[in-house]
């Protein structure tokens, strides 16, 4: 054998492996490792899990649309600095002209969940204030009766309708009975804190809980 052939043979041999190629693991093939199909018919875990965070523009526009608010009144820090600008980069956005941030963040930053809550809470407050101040044109919390700041009846049809409206606007689907019960229980829990105007505080809390949920801020 010529030396160069010997060398080539050696290289080829060392490049080979006795191990078979490993197949890509697509996860458990049965329900045992997944989710038990006892709830809402069960769901299969996404193997890709390729979620996208909404980012500042989509979050703001979705809130404006869902809560029927002008975009400019969704959230303003100190009443005058648009959250879209103040928290835009924290929410994964860009700011090319003012601060030379040209690319979106590959992952959510540490301040993002807080910026989401501030934006959502501001928008919720704006919606609730309008619903309470002009009941005839209320959008979400229509006909929800309050006495001395308290909900008259957390189990009333008006509350159920308001919760359905809230969830549909955020998640584009109806709430499950368990979700509805959880949000009704929230009303009782809020009242138990002794906070003034617990009915309004519940509206704020329910709106914040739904619109800052993962289902509302990822897609």
């Amino acid at each position: 054998m010529r030396p160069e052939r010997l060398l080539l043979t050696c290289l080829l041999l060392t490049g080979c492996s006795d191990k078979l190629p490993i197949a890509v693991d697509l996860g458990p093939s049965d329900a045992g490792g997944g989710v038990a199909p006892s709830y809402d018919g069960g769901v299969a875990r996404s193997q890709k899990g390729n979620l996208r965070f909404k980012g500042p523009e989509r979050l703001t526009l979705d809130l404006a649309s869902a809560l029927e608010l002008p975009v400019a009144s969704v959230c303003n820090e100190l009443g005058q600095y648009p959250c879209l600008n103040v928290h835009g980069v924290s929410l994964g956005g860009v700011d090319p002209y003012a601060h030379s941030v040209y690319e979106t963040a590959p992952v959510t930053g540490a301040a993002a969940p807080i910026a989401v809550e501030r934006t959502v809470l501001s928008a919720c407050n704006a919606r609730i204030a309008q619903d309470l101040n002009a009941p005839a044109t209320a959008v979400v919390f229509k006909d929800v009766a309050l006495t001395n700041g308290k909900l008259n009846d957390p189990t009333s049809p008006a509350v159920a309708t308001a919760l359905s409206s809230l969830v549909r606007r955020a998640w584009l689907r109806d709430p499950t009975q368990e979700e509805r019960d959880t949000l009704v229980q929230l009303a009782r829990d809020v009242e138990a804190t002794g906070t003034p105007n617990p009915g309004v505080a519940w509206m704020q809390a329910a709106c914040l809980a739904v619109f800052s949920s993962a289902e509302a801020v990822f897609y």
Partner: protein, 514 residues
């Protein structure tokens, strides 16, 4: 051997050769690689002179100032006088009187005056002497040769040492070393390559920079409900959050995407980092803004200015309009309140209106040197050194540890990163000229941890180019013009006393104060 006669090996010879190869690689390989590795052990390096600190569990701090555009070392601490160079008229040398010396110091200081900055009709009157006199004992200049004259690439390489340590940036290395207990170990207010993440994907995500673009308003986003008009009480917010988390956990969406990396991270941020940030009352402590209605109606929204607000506004009076002043003020607070161990700031390429003459930041920062080299360098160096001086003053006045008497400054490193130097030629004896990008330059480090009053490397007056040095001994090496990005990277971390075990970084003990 058959090879000699036929050019081929016999089957027996081939088998013998293969077995010898196998035996050789099996026995000698580990010996040889072990020999090589034994030279890299911390013990071996210390025998060669590497200096290391005992890790005391207390944080050290890094402030990176990204001097965007190319801060030229020959327009500051290594400036050359005309009388020193045989090529004075053709190269960037100064009239002798403009280059001032300080007794007992290798540093120089440039004094510059002109009625305009390029085509911008604002006067430039700067003098670096006071800064050098005040800080020379904490100053170290290390000469450098980079590997890129592209802004963005060179910016990033000034922070990674051209991927000297698995591609991590200095800020990420410091965050990993000292930032484990901090809520935001690495805050980055820089731009371009100074704000980019490194490429060491093995680092914990918390080591990567949290981007901040508006230092005055950003702290408003560090609490989920405070400062929002008519927000419910904290108790109610807590109930809303726990309800939300329960809904997320049970929802079809939550269960479908429970393995999503984005969602896992989000839950970690919501559940662990957010309470940490809110618990430190950072919406108040980091808030430089004064209560000044109607523009800044803090009290109307139930907010207060930082307890340090007044002195920071005094140190950085243009904090609201000049990005660098605002960034420097926030940088101090982030370190003081142990939010971060690494903070990055610096001018960007945009014009900032403000300052004494109407322009706080000229277009392109140091890169305005293309139009007016001397004026641009003088203006921008004054801008950087002004911010550094104020920061050092604040850090010196801030106690770190009453038991040891250490101030914050005693444990802080300021690294003035920049992309590259500037080309040296000029039209004959011109005082106003433009310059391009040049790999040859030097970096400024300031800290009580560096070997102060020191220039590593040197300057050749006839070319006005810097030459290199031995990063271990500090010995100047005239004529050495090779790239030394890893030396600079290692020097910053070595001076800080970081554990560099396993890094493969060069020994840069020359940077460290004895």
């Amino acid at each position: 051997m058959t090879l000699e006669h036929t050019g081929r090996l016999s089957r027996r010879e081939m088998l013998r050769a293969l077995s010898l190869c196998a035996a050789g690689s099996a026995t000698l390989g580990p010996l040889l690689s072990g020999c090589r590795e034994s030279l890299q052990t911390p013990e071996a390096l210390e025998k060669l002179g590497r200096k290391r600190d005992a890790l005391d569990g207390k944080p050290k701090f890094l402030i990176v100032i990204g001097a965007a555009g190319g801060a030229s070392i020959v327009d500051s601490f290594l400036a050359v006088r005309q009388s020193e160079s045989v090529n004075a008229g053709a190269l960037n040398t100064f009239p002798d009187a403009q280059v001032q010396s300080v007794a007992g110091s290798p540093f120089r200081a440039v004094k510059y005056s002109n009625s305009r900055l390029g085509s911008i009709p604002i006067p430039v009157n700067t003098d670096q002497l006071a800064f050098v006199k005040k800080h020379m004992n904490d100053m170290l200049v290390a000469t450098s040769v980079g590997t890129s004259v592209n802004h963005n690439i060179a910016q990033k390489r000034s922070l990674t040492g051209n991927a000297a340590w698995r591609g991590r940036t200095l800020q990420e290395a410091v965050a990993l070393q000292w930032g484990a207990s901090m809520p935001l170990p690495n805050v980055n207010m820089g731009t371009g390559g100074y704000s980019e993440r490194g490429t060491d994907g093995d680092l914990p995500l918390s080591c990567f920079g949290e981007t901040v673009v508006n230092p005055s308003l950003w702290p408003l986003g560090l609490d989920g409900s405070r400062g929002i008009a008519n927000a419910p009480s904290k108790d109610v917010i807590a109930l809303a959050r726990s309800t939300r988390n329960a809904l997320d956990e049970k929802s079809i969406f939550g269960r479908t995407f429970q393995d999503s990396a984005a969602l896992k991270r989000w839950n970690e941020q919501r559940g662990v980092q957010q309470p940490k940030l809110e618990g430190m009352d950072l919406i108040t402590r980091l808030n430089i803004l004064p209560n000044a209605p109607p523009q800044i109606p803090l009290s109307q929204y139930g907010l207060d200015s930082s307890p340090d607000g007044a002195r920071l506004r005094a140190a950085f009076p243009a904090f609201f309009t000049d990005p660098v002043e605002g960034q420097a003020a926030l940088a101090f607070l982030l370190l003081k309140y142990r939010v971060s161990v690494s903070v990055t700031l610096g001018p960007d390429f945009n014009v900032a209106v403000g300052g004494q003459n109407g322009i706080a930041n000229p277009p392109l920062a140091f890169d305005i040197s293309h139009n007016d080299h001397r004026g641009g360098q003088a203006f921008m160096w004054a801008r950087i050194l002004g911010a550094v001086d104020s920061l050092i003053g604040l850090l010196k006045s801030e106690p770190f540890d009453a038991a040891t008497g250490e101030s914050m400054w005693d444990r802080t490193m300021i690294y003035v990163a920049t992309e590259f130097g500037r080309t040296r030629p000029r039209p004959a004896n011109a005082t106003e000229f433009g310059s391009g990008h040049d790999l040859n330059n030097g970096f400024l480090l300031l800290s009580p941890m560096v070997k102060g009053n020191t220039v590593l490397g040197g300057m050749a007056p006839n070319t006005t180019l810097t030459y290199g040095f031995d990063a271990r001994t500090g010995q100047a090496q005239p004529g050495k013009m090779t790239s030394n990005e890893p030396d600079i990277f290692s020097g910053v971390l070595t001076a800080m006393g970081a554990d560099l075990g396993g890094s493969g970084l060069p020994d840069a003990s020359a940077f460290k104060r004895a």
